[in-house]
C-alpha cells in the first residue's frame, strides 16, 4: 500500500517535471489526491528555490587552492603508506587483501624460521624455549595414548641429550629434564648419566631411591653439573615390590609369573646345572626372568665359591634368552667360558677371577646399567656353548665343573669383595629388607619398564 503510494507520487513528480500541471496529476489519482497535493506543491516550490550562487572570486580562489594542493602533493615525497596505497590502487584490488597476504607470508616465514632455528638449539639458546614449546604442542595434538607416550619418551631423551650437550659446553641455563636416578652419593646424584648436585635449597618431592624416575628442574652450573632446584620423584613408580620366594623353584615358571618376579628365582640353582639348563633355556626365550639371577646370585653369600661360579654360569643362561635385559658384564663372560672348554680350560680358570666383575655389579650402583647393556648379539655365544658338548668330550664337560673349581680356588673366596661385603649375605634373601636386594629389583624394574616403553 505504501509502496503503491510511493509509486504514484513518483509518477506525478515525473509528470510535473515533464510539464504537466498539478491539477492534471491529481485528477489522474483521485484516491490519493488529498495526500498527494501538499507533497506535490512542495515539490513545485522546491523547483523554484534558487540557491545563492557562490561568488566568482571565491570560486576562483578555491580553484587555486586545489591546484596548489595538487602541486604540493606532487612535490611531497610519498611515504611508505602512500606508496603502498598507490601500489594497491594499481592492482585494483581492495587494500586489505595485499596487506593480509603480506602479513600471512611474514607470519608463516617467521614461524618456519623459528622452528628451523630452534631444532638444533640447546639450553641457553634464545630459541630453546621455542623448541620446548614445539614439543609441548606436538604432544598436545597427539591423541593416541601409545604414540603420545612414545613421543614423550623421545622428547625426554632429547632433552637429556640437550642438557648433556649444554653441560659439556659449560653453559649456564635453566633446565628441566626427566630421567632415572642411577646413584645417590650424598649431595651428588646421577640422573640418567647427568650429574646433579642437590643442596639444602633443593626441593625434593617424594622419596628418592636408586632406579626411581625423577623430574629435575635446575640450573647448569657451568662446572659440568646441574644444580637441582627441585626434584620430583614419580610416585607412580613406588619402590620395587617384594620378591616372591616361590619362584625359586625353577626358572620355567616364568610363563605364569611376571617377568620381573621370575628373574630373581632363577638365580639359585644355576651353578650345578650350568650345562643342562642352557640349551632348554634358549629356545624357550623366557629367560628374561632368569637374567636377574646374576646379581642376586653374586650377592648371595651362600657360598663364596659357589657364588662366584654361579655368577659366571648364570650369565650364560640368562644371556641367551634375554637379549634385551642382558647385563653387560654377565653376558660377556659367557663367551669366555666357551673358549675355556678347550684344553687350557684349567689354565683359564683364572678367568673366573674376572668373576669379580659380577661382584662389582653386585654393587647396586652398577646394576642400573642393564639399560645400557643391550648386547643381545652376545647371546649367540650361549648357542656356541653347546660346542663343548659337540666336542662331545664328555670328559671335558666336567670342565665346567672345573670352572667350578675357580670357586674352589681360594681367590674368589679370598677376594674381599665378596667376603668383605656382608651386605650381600643379608640382602640376598627377598624376605630381608636390607635394601640392596630391593634396589636390584628396582633396577630390573626400571630396565623392564624401559624395555616396555
Amino acid at each position: 500500500m505504501r509502496s503503491d503510494f510511493d509509486a504514484t507520487l513518483d509518477r506525478c513528480l515525473a509528470d510535473l517535471a515533464a510539464g504537466a500541471s498539478l491539477d492534471t496529476c491529481l485528477a489522474r489519482h483521485p484516491d490519493h489526491a488529498a495526500e498527494l497535493r501538499p507533497l506535490l506543491e512542495l515539490a513545485v516550490d522546491l523547483q523554484y528555490v534558487t540557491t545563492p550562487r557562490a561568488a566568482d572570486g571565491a570560486r576562483a580562489e578555491g580553484r587555486q587552492r586545489v591546484l596548489a594542493a595538487a602541486a604540493a602533493r606532487l612535490e611531497q615525497r610519498p611515504s611508505f603508506a602512500t606508496w603502498w596505497r598507490r601500489a594497491v590502487l594499481a592492482l585494483r584490488v581492495p587494500v586489505w587483501r595485499p596487506a593480509a597476504a603480506l602479513a600471512l607470508v611474514l607470519l608463516v616465514a617467521t614461524a618456519a624460521f623459528l622452528l628451523v632455528a630452534s631444532t638444533s638449539s640447546l639450553p641457553g639458546d634464545a630459541f630453546y624455549p621455542v623448541k620446548l614449546a614445539r614439543q609441548a604442542v606436538q604432544l598436545a595434538f597427539t591423541f593416541d595414548p601409545l604414540k603420545e607416550r612414545i613421543l614423550a619418551d623421545q622428547f625426554a631423551t632429547e632433552r637429556r641429550y640437550d642438557v648433556g650437550a649444554a653441560l659439556s659446553m659449560g653453559r649456564t641455563a635453566t633446565v628441566h629434564f626427566e630421567g632415572i636416578l642411577e646413584s645417590i652419593d650424598e649431595d651428588r646424584w646421577l640422573v640418567s648419566g647427568l650429574p646433579v648436585v642437590v643442596s639444602d635449597a633443593t626441593r625434593i618431592d617424594g622419596e628418592p631411591y636408586r632406579g626411581a624416575p625423577v623430574d629435575v628442574r635446575g640450573e647448569l652450573s657451568g662446572a659440568g653439573n646441574v644444580r637441582a632446584l627441585s626434584v620430583f620423584v614419580d610416585p607412580d613408580h613406588a619402590p620395587w615390590p617384594e620378591m616372591t620366594g616361590t619362584a625359586t623353584s625353577t626358572p620355567t615358571p616364568t610363563a605364569s609369573l611376571p617377568p620381573r618376579t621370575a628373574a630373581p628365582t632363577a638365580t639359585a640353582r644355576p651353578p650345578a646345572t650350568l650345562t643342562a639348563p642352557l640349551p632348554p633355556s634358549t629356545p624357550t626365550g623366557t629367560a628374561t626372568p632368569t637374567i636377574t639371577p646374576t646379581p642376586v646370585r653374586t650377592d648371595e653369600p651362600g657360598g663364596p665359591a659357589g657364588a662366584t661360579a654361579s655368577t659366571t654360569a648364570t650369565p650364560l643362561v640368562i644371556s641367551s634368552p634375554l637379549p634385551a635385559t642382558g647385563e653387560p658384564t654377565a653376558t660377556r663372560q659367557p663367551t669366555e667360558p666357551v673358549e675355556t672348554p678347550s684344553p687350557p680350560g684349567p689354565t683359564d680358570t683364572p678367568q673366573p677371577t674376572r668373576t669379580p666383575l659380577p661382584s662389582v655389579t653386585r654393587q647396586p650402583t652398577n646394576t642400573p646399567r642393564p639399560t645400557e647393556t643391550p648386547l643381545p648379539t652376545d647371546t649367540p655365544p650361549p648357542s656356541a656353548t653347546p660346542q663343548p658338548t659337540e666336542k662331545s668330550d664328555p670328559g671335558e664337560t666336567p670342565e665346567p665343573a672345573d670352572t667350578a673349581r675357580p670357586t674352589e680356588t681360594p681367590e674368589p673366596t679370598n677376594t674381599p669383595k665378596l667376603t668383605k661385603t656382608p651386605e650381600p649375605t643379608e640382602t640376598p634373601k627377598p624376605g630381608d629388607d636390607d635394601g640392596s636386594g630391593r634396589a636390584a629389583c628396582k633396577k630390573q624394574g626400571v630396565a623392564t619398564a624401559r624395555r616396555r616403553a
Binding site: 505504501r2 509502496s3 503510494f5 510511493d6 509509486a7 507520487l9 513518483d10 513528480l13 517535471a17 501538499p38 507533497l39 512542495l42 515539490a43 513545485v44 516550490d45 522546491l46 523547483q47 523554484y48 528555490v49 534558487t50 540557491t51 545563492p52 550562487r53 557562490a54 561568488a55 571565491a58 570560486r59 580562489e61 578555491g62 580553484r63 587552492r65 586545489v66 591546484l67 594542493a69 595538487a70 602541486a71 602533493r73 606532487l74 602512500t82 596505497r85 598507490r86 590502487l89 581492495p94 587494500v95
Partner: protein, 185 residues
Amino acid sequence: MPDDQVALIRRAQRGDAAACAALYDEHYDAVYRYCYYRVGDTDLAQDLAAEVFVRMVEKLDIYQVRGRPLLAWLYTIARNLVVDTHRANGRMMHISLDQAEPAVDGNAMPVDQVARRLEAECLAAAMARLTEDQRQVILGKFVEGRTNAQMGALLNKTEGAIKSLQHRALAALRRALEIERCYEV
C-alpha cells in the same frame, strides 16, 4: 561511472593538476549547494566547498573507484567538514536575512508561485531538521533535478528505496517548513 570520469580520477590520482582542476569545476556547484544547505551561510559554504576539494586532492590516494560517483565521496568529505565546523562554532549558524540574494526573476515565475515563494535560507533552516538521506534526496531530486537512478547511485540505494525515501523526505520537509514558518513571509 562513465569511463571518462574514471580516467579523469586516475589522472588526478597520479598527480595531474589539470585533472584535479577539472574535477573541481565539474563538482563545485553541487558541493557548494550541499554545504550551503547545511550551514546556511554563503561565505562559509564557499570556504567549505573549497576545503572539500583540497581534501579530495590530499586523499585521492585512498580513493577507490568502485562504481559510486565521486560526488558521493565529496558529499562525505563535506559532511565531515560541516560537522567539524558545527563543533567548532557551536551548534548551528544563524542565517542572516541580508545574505539572501534575489532567488529567481519574478517575471519568470507563475503568478501563484510568486505568492508562495520559498526562500533558500528558510529551506536551509528547515532541511537542518531532516536526516542526511532525506536532505540529500531533497537536494538532489528537487533542487538539482537528478533522476531516481542517479540518486540511487549517489546514496547506494535502489530506485524503489529512493521513491520511498523521497516520499518521507517531502513529508518531513513540509513539517519542518511549517515549524520554521517559511510560508508566512
